[in-house]
Amino acid sequence: MIQIAGLILILIGLYGLITKRNIIKMIIALNVLEIGLNLFIVSVGYVQDGIAPILTEVNNSSGLIFVDPLPQALVLTAIVIGMGTTALSLAFARKIYATHQTFDLNEMGVEE
């Protein structure tokens, strides 16, 4: 069920990227898309009644049914990279505001 929610979040993010004309709103739409994509990738590896892929004193043998660890390893790094790109785009947004005094793309091209 979370898989379908992730797909719908991806579509919501795309819709926001198409329609919004405010830079901060566009970055927020990108973040929504990213969270949906991460949820989708992790949900692909979910196994029914699986346990978390860590050997502990309770789950001490590899014969048990574990969840697929590979999508989790991919998403773990993707989240950190997403934070880096968000910081870079916010820095650009701040620079744009310093030169144009607005976040709105429609009002931007009009110079006095």
Partner: protein
């Protein structure tokens, strides 16, 4: 640890519905600051979703970064912009 089957289904359904509602709210709310806060809340529900899908590493990372640091960066951008506005207004007042 065995979680009851129906309880698990109810929790996944609630988390999915809250994720979609908060995603729409984050894009459609009028004020930018409330939109940022909705994004942070949505990130928290994504943490719940990762925990339900048995991914504790990803859940910890998302809890620190998604709902902590990214929200802080958005809010600092908005605060810096309002400060920039104030400075410009002061300059305009000085020249007048």
């Amino acid at each position: 640890m065995v979680i009851n089957e129906t309880l698990y289904t109810i929790m996944t359904a609630a988390v999915s519905i809250m994720l979609i509602i908060l995603g729409i709210l984050a894009l459609e709310s009028k004020k930018l600051i409330s939109s940022v806060i909705y994004l942070s809340a949505m990130s928290l529900f994504a943490v719940l979703g990762f925990v339900l899908m048995k991914a504790p590493d990803v859940a910890i990372t998302e809890a620190v970064i998604g709902s902590g640091l990214v929200t802080a960066l958005f809010i600092f951008t908005l605060i810096g912009v309002t400060k920039l506005d104030k400075k410009d207004n002061q300059k305009a007042g000085d020249t007048k």
